[in-house]
Amino acid sequence: MLRYIRYIGAQAWQGFWRNPVMSIASTATVAGMLLLSSFFVIAQRGLDVSLNFLQSKVELYLELDDNAKPSDILALKTRIESDPSVDHVLYVSKDEALTRLKEVADKTGQVSLADVATNPLPASLEVKMRDAQQTKQLASMMRDEVGKGVVTDVVDNPSVVDKVLTITRVLSIGGISVLGLMLFVTLFVIVNTIRIAVHARRDEIEIMQLVGATDSFVRWPFIIEGVLVGIFGASIALLVLAASAPPVMGAISGFLTIVPIDFGPLFALALAGSVLGFALVIGAIGAVISVRSYLR
């Protein structure tokens, strides 16, 4: 058994290196496709993060009656918070509202507001959405509250919110479907490449069989060779990615002062793992499929 495994390993290694043109070309194809896929996974992830950020900007303001009872305001706040589409609700008092306005006015260099005598600003509830898609529904619900003594006005921006949400949805569905097609084509192209390479060696398969080799004796070295192609291809793709990540990230970070694109600490690791695993499995599957046609 051990002898058999050693034999298979040696044969696969030999098969890889003694058909260098085909092995290198296959490996290059695998590397190219994986690089593209990875790049795309990263772009898709970036798109996702950007869109989430865009969505997280969607808020709803409820302007409150100056005379509303604190208990009523609290009850309303609690009620809104229990809605699963809401992330959190912030109470902004009249004073806070004024302070904020002053800060903004100072920053933007507009006329000073420091000398305002009576505070014209209402207190408000700022509702941050968890699921931005539900904003419209919540807003119309809140409008029913207007005039009941607590809420005086509901401020959203239905047309802008709608548009942002639509674009968000289209982009992320588009991104996911292109990614799906991408992975499918990657699989297809890699399997196809291995098939051509194995086809070119069909005579070898026939000869091995004629000399008394069993199917698995012929098949296994090819499978391991496919795995080798996968591993080498994935390694090249990952090396290129790793090498190009710092400059690309540097270039992007120029734009990123405002939008915090953070992939999370494990993203790189998970990506590398999936690329390697994906390549390895496709290599093996490609070999199995390809060899099968010549084992009759």
């Binding site: 004629l210 000399v211 008394g212 199917d215």
Partner: protein, 245 residues
């Protein structure tokens, strides 16, 4: 060698069983060519048979049928007691290991050296590494290729390729050796060496079938001769010559 000697003694009895049997075998290739028609042939264990006939007579086709590289269109083929036509896929490799075949076009693995090509025939049957090494070395020595052991097939002369194919067919010590024109690319001296080698192996009990055009050898050996013409057997003579007696 001890098992071969034992088989030899047993097989030289009065009624040797037939290790190869063809019964009314016909072969028509998919493109319509009729290569064999109603061929019947029985070869007892330990026999030495020459297969002769003009170019295209059907000699290689018979060999392809024996190894199940092709299936007959009609008729029954038996090798070492097994019905070749009814073998399951998974049993074909075991049939082929019983047959040491020298192919007319050599069929060497292009990405393997001479040594590796010969060793391969032992590796398929799972021989331990040191045995593979030892026996492969002996086989290469026998056909005079020790010096070329690390050449790839495309770095060999025609005769060297042919001898590699012969070494591969013999290295596994199969009970039946089938050689298709094994001296076509060899000079007369080397040809005779190979024939003597095959002859010795046959004396040790191996059944030998050899398709050949080498008139001189057939005439000198005075072995059984089966002559084909247009896919049919026209002569089957115990101690024959190349031409009709």
């Amino acid at each position: 060698m001890s098992t071969l000697t034992a088989r030899n003694k047993a097989s030289r009895g009065s009624d040797r069983r037939n290790v190869i049997v063809l019964e009314d075998v016909s072969k028509q290739y998919p493109n319509g060519t009729r290569a064999l028609q109603d061929v019947s042939l029985a070869i007892p264990d330990g026999d030495f048979v020459f297969l002769v006939g003009a170019s295209g007579a059907g000699k290689s086709t018979i060999i392809r049928l024996l190894t199940r590289a092709e299936a007959p269109t009609a008729g029954r083929i038996e090798v070492d007691g097994e019905d070749v036509g009814r073998l399951t896929r998974s049993h074909v490799p075991h049939l082929r290991r019983k047959l040491g075949v020298v192919f007319q076009d050599f069929k060497l693995l292009p990405a393997k050296t001479v040594y590796e090509n010969v060793a391969f025939a032992l590796q398929v049957t799972g021989h331990p590494d040191d045995e593979v090494r030892e026996r492969t070395d002996v086989a290469l020595e026998l056909v005079g290729l020790s010096k070329r052991r690390d050449h790839y097939p495309d770095q060999l002369s025609g005769g060297e390729q042919q001898r590699t194919a012969i070494a591969r067919a013999l290295v596994g010590k199969p009970p039946i050796v089938v050689a298709d024109e094994p001296t076509g690319n060899l000079d007369p001296v080397t040809s005779w060496e190979i024939i003597q080698l095959l002859s010795r192996i046959n004396e040790l009990g191996t059944t030998l079938v050899m398709a050949t055009h080498n008139q001189e050898i057939v005439n000198a050996m005075r072995k059984r001769v089966v002559a084909l013409e247009h896919g049919s057997i026209v002569r089957d003579q115990a101690q024959g010559g190349y031409q009709h007696a």
